[in-house]
Assembly symmetry: C2
Homo-oligomer: 101 residues x 2
C-alpha cells in the first residue's frame, strides 16, 4: 500500500503536535518555563528550592522538557544548567492565555 490507511487524526502531524503540547501541559513544567523567563539559566538544585520538590521529581520534569525540545542543558562541574531553547515558548503561554479569554 502506497498511501496511509490510518484515520486522519492519527496522522504523524497531529500525534507529534499533541506530544509537544503535552510537554507543556503540566503546572510544574509551566512554572519551570516561567522561572526561566526571568532567570535565564538554572541548575537542578536551584529549581528544587524554587519549586519545593524532591530532586527526582524536578529532574524528571526537566528531562521531559529537554527530550521534547523545550529546554537545553549544559554541565558546569557538578551542576546541570537548564535554559529555554527558544524565547518563543514564552509566547506560547501568552498565546494560550489570550485564546481562552
Amino acid at each position: 500500500m502506497t498511501t496511509s490507511t490510518k484515520p486522519p487524526y492519527l496522522e504523524k502531524e497531529w500525534i507529534e503536535t499533541s506530544e509537544k503540547i503535552k510537554a507543556l501541559a503540566h503546572p510544574i513544567r509551566l512554572y519551570i518555563i516561567a522561572l526561566l523567563k526571568t532567570t535565564k539559566e538554572m541548575n537542578v538544585s536551584e529549581f528544587q528550592e524554587a519549586l519545593a520538590l524532591e530532586q527526582a521529581v524536578v529532574s524528571h520534569h526537566l528531562n521531559i522538557l529537554k527530550n521534547r525540545g523545550v529546554l537545553n542543558c549544559r554541565r558546569d562541574g557538578k551542576n546541570m544548567y537548564y535554559s529555554l531553547k527558544s524565547k518563543k515558548f514564552l509566547n506560547v503561554l501568552t498565546c494560550i492565555e489570550t485564546s481562552f479569554e
Copy 2:
C-alpha cells in the same frame, strides 16, 4: 492565614493554564480544531464521519473542548453544531509549531 502556603507550581494560575493546555493536548482534539478552520460549524455526525470514530468518542472529545472553553455549540433540531469559540485557537497551533522548530 492571609497568604497562600501552597507550593508555587500549584498556584491557581498554573493549574488553570495547564488544564487549558491539556484540552488541546490530544491528536483527535487538535484535528477537530483543524477541521473547524475550514468548516466553521460541524455537527456530531459530520465529525463522526470525518474522524472515522464512534459517536460516543466524538461526543466525549467535543465535550472536553466545550467544557474547557474551546468550542461553542448550538442545537438545530436533532443535531448539535460545534464551532470554535475564537479564531485565536488556530494561532495557538501555529504558535506551538513555530516554537518547537
